[in-house]
């Protein structure tokens, strides 16, 4: 069989992964390369959601134009976050509706943009991963990935192929964790009330590992669990799928070895 041309994927790492947890970016790159893609990382800052959701659409358009241009030469744009992928894929189009120059570019950009795990499964046809982790994990469906992009079964299908990993579903896995971007700092008490419920749902599964596909939600849930002294490890789903769980879990210092064992 002839070797197909490798898909040229531009990885949009997201500002949170870029600054807080680069290991997720490397895990995403490994998964993409394992699926036969070549990976580039064009210069990038943020998808623009903080401005977009604060009503500053002029700034958002500036950022969107910059992102669209930076990824112009890629076949695909892949994002290890449902909410940033949703921003790039659905909201950039809204921003340029009726703009004769940018609407076609935003449309084409939307067409080639995917959330990481759904890209692996739906576009690359990945059906299993070569990873191993002895742990019992529970998976939280981050809202934008779930409702804007239909990411639900793909991560569960791939996680089911991780050797040694058991998945136990939490109640209301599709209910918001209370992060909501700037919401969590604008309305901290309400955000806290929501994440408190989420933490209780996570705890009641008995899992020792929490996974999701959005670092913002993960930081929120990890931060709450840790503040409550709950020793459940929290990781981005890409880390587990890539078998790259050497880095300490979110919010855990380098020397600690708690929770899931490899």
């Amino acid at each position: 069989m002839a070797e197909p041309m490798a898909r040229r994927v531009g990885l949009f790492a997201t500002c949170l992964i870029d600054m807080i947890r680069p290991s997720v970016g490397f895990a995403a790159a490994k998964l993409l390369e394992d699926a036969g893609c070549t990976v580039e990382v064009p210069p990038q800052s943020c998808c623009g959601q903080p401005a977009f959701n604060s009503g500053d659409h002029t700034t958002t358009r500036d950022i969107a134009r910059q992102v669209i241009a930076a990824f112009a030469s890629c076949d695909y744009v892949v994002v290890p976050s449902g909410s940033c992928a949703g921003m790039l894929k659905t909201h950039y189009q809204e921003l340029f509706r009726g703009d004769p120059n940018w609407q076609p570019r935003a449309d084409a950009f939307a067409e080639k943009t995917y959330e990481l795990v759904s890209f692996l499964v739906d576009v690359c046809g990945v059906s299993r991963v070569a990873a191993r982790l002895d742990a019992t994990a529970t998976y939280h469906d981050s809202c934008s990935g779930l409702r804007e992009l239909g990411v639900r079964d793909q991560p569960r299908r791939l996680l089911a192929t991780v050797e040694g990993l058991r998945i136990t579903e939490m109640r209301d896995s599709n209910v918001c964790c209370g992060f909501g971007g700037t919401f969590c700092v604008k309305y901290p008490e309400i955000s806290n009330a929501i994440v408190r419920k989420k933490a209780a749902a996570i705890k009641s599964t008995g899992a020792n590992l929490l996974l999701a596909g959005d670092l913002g939600c993960l930081m929120n849930m990890a931060g709450k669990l840790q503040r409550d002294g709950v020793g459940i490890e929290v990781r981005h789903v890409a880390e587990v799928l890539a078998g790259m769980t050497d880095a300490p879990a979110i919010g855990v210092p380098a020397r600690a070895t708690a929770g899931a064992k490899r």
Partner: protein
């Protein structure tokens, strides 16, 4: 703008309201009902109906069609009502609606009016107005009756007293129904219901005028349609001398066939019933030979800003059929309940509608207090893009310079960097290094300057150190130097 309603609005103090709500143990207890019961019931009946999703499309299309031809359907509706001996009154503002209703009541020498549940009556502040003019309004929906006893607003558009526990209601009944034996047993919810029913029965018989809202108005037949589970709507509209229907313009639907489609999504989305217990159509005053019915039939059609919504960004909001599914599924509503929103309409639909009716300057918090989780849109029977509309309000707010100064300044600084990826990379690399150094030992921060909103309730993870982009660049450089296939994983 609603004068009376807008005065009463506390939406400006949403944050304080929310804080109080979070600290209110009774409220938090009562709110569990919304989260547990409404959601499960809706899911169950929706799953049982294979065409439910198609019906939602259909419901959306019916409302869109009606809104596109609202002028024609209003005329048709009016024509039918008049033919059938009724009267139609157009009220541009809340003030107009209140005046019209007061005039009708005065002409009839009315002293008491019974009321079916009506959110529009809440919107125009009807009860206080009537009471101030010597007419006693009596709410006949159980939930509305309870909150009237407590001098409260509804906290939910279909379950007005959902913020209360049974024990609180029992206390209210004992406080107000002093003519009943003190040692009576009110432990069972049904005993509360029976007591309210007995008290209300006398009021129904004594009332001079009955005022109801309308879930729908049917242009084809000139009918107003009320759905209830208690039958109070029927008694309100058939027993008194006059029946006044108070409804906003967008309640119109073209035909009975359209009505039946909408009824199929309404009850399922609202209470998780296949149909409400009572669906009552009234199309005019008592005709010769009718066994009962009012002598006069009036429909007061309220605009109150809706016709200007029709031509703007928020037009889709006029599709709303007031089922409450959006608030039933909203994590923010679950946390703080309806009163925190500070005016008549709570939850996601209120977050879009309230700024339209009382002004974004007064209701700016409401569209901001959303995580944009999208569950409201997911369940909306008429597929209103609620998150998109909340975002549109934030845009209006930003453009009118109404957003708080801290938000604007923070955003300006952030966008300066975000628009310059190289500078951004430089700045974040330094920040990540510094934070990594400072938080290295513990792996997380329990306090951070400029992020106290976050760290008040949760820890913040220490960055791993060095940004992804910088590390990636180094990896690329070293692998091209070595001319080897790229090594995977961050450099050691």
């Amino acid at each position: 703008m609603t004068d009376v309603g807008a005065h009463a609005a506390t939406s400006l103090h949403f944050k304080d309201n929310a804080k109080a709500a979070l600290a209110d143990a009774n409220l938090q207890n009562a709110l569990k009902f919304v989260e547990v019961n409404f959601i499960a019931r809706r899911r169950e009946v929706a799953d049982k109906l294979p065409e439910f999703e198609a019906l939602r499309d259909c419901a959306r299309d019916i409302k869109d069609h009606t809104l596109a031809h609202l002028d024609l359907y209003l005329e048709a509706f009016e024509g039918r009502v008049v033919e059938q001996g009724g009267h139609v009154h157009y009220a541009a503002t809340s003030e107009d609606a209140r005046r019209i209703i007061l005039d009708i009541c005065r002409k009839l020498g009315a002293r008491t009016v019974t009321k079916g549940k009506s959110m529009v009556a809440e919107e125009i502040g009807l009860n206080d107005f009537l009471a101030a003019h010597g007419i006693t309004p009596i709410e006949t929906d159980l939930g509305e009756y309870i909150i009237q006893l407590r001098h409260e607003m509804p906290s939910h558009i279909i379950a007005p007293a959902v913020h209360l526990t049974k024990a609180q209601i029992e206390d209210d009944f004992r406080r107000v129904h002093t003519h009943l034996p003190r040692d009576r047993n009110l432990v069972e919810p049904t005993s509360l219901l029976a007591e309210a029913r007995a008290v209300l029965r006398e009021k129904f018989l004594a009332a001079d005028v009955g005022i109801t809202g309308a879930n729908f108005l049917v242009a084809e037949t000139g009918s107003s349609v009320v759905v209830t589970n208690e039958g109070n709507g029927d008694l309100t509209q058939t027993l008194p001398k006059a029946h006044i229907v108070l409804a906003s313009l967008e309640k119109l639907v073209p035909t009975l066939e359209d009505l039946s489609q909408l009824l199929r999504v309404l009850a399922r989305s609202a209470t998780g019933q296949e149909m409400s217990v009572y669906t009552t159509l009234s199309s005019g005053p008592r005709r010769p030979g009718d066994p009962d019915g009012p002598d006069e039939y009036h429909v007061v059609l309220l605009d109150n800003g809706r016709s200007s919504m029709l031509a703007g960004t928020f037009r889709d909001m006029l599709r709303c059929i007031r089922c409450g599914a959006c608030m039933n599924h909203c994590p923010v509503y679950h946390a703080v309940g309806g009163h925190a929103y500070g005016w008549v309409y709570p939850g996601p639909m209120g977050a879009v509608l309230t700024p339209s009716l009382i002004g974004i300057d007064k209701a700016g918090h409401l569209p901001n207090a959303s995580t944009f989780c999208g569950r409201c849109e997911e369940v909306c029977p008429v597929r209103i893009p609620l998150p998109r509309m909340m975002r549109a309000w934030r845009e209006h707010e930003f453009e009118q310079h109404l957003s708080p100064a801290t938000v604007r300044t923070g955003l300006a600084v952030w966008s300066f960097f975000a628009k310059r990826p190289r500078l951004y990379g430089f700045a974040t690399a330094i920040a990540a290094r510094l934070l990594a150094l400072a938080g290295h030992a513990r792996g997380r921060f329990s306090w951070l300057p400029f992020a106290s909103g976050w760290t008040r309730h949760r820890d913040f993870p220490t960055p791993q150190g060095g940004t992804f982009q910088a590390q990636w660049k180094r990896r690329e450089l070293s692998s091209s130097k070595a001319a080897q296939p790229p090594r995977l994983g961050p450099p050691p």
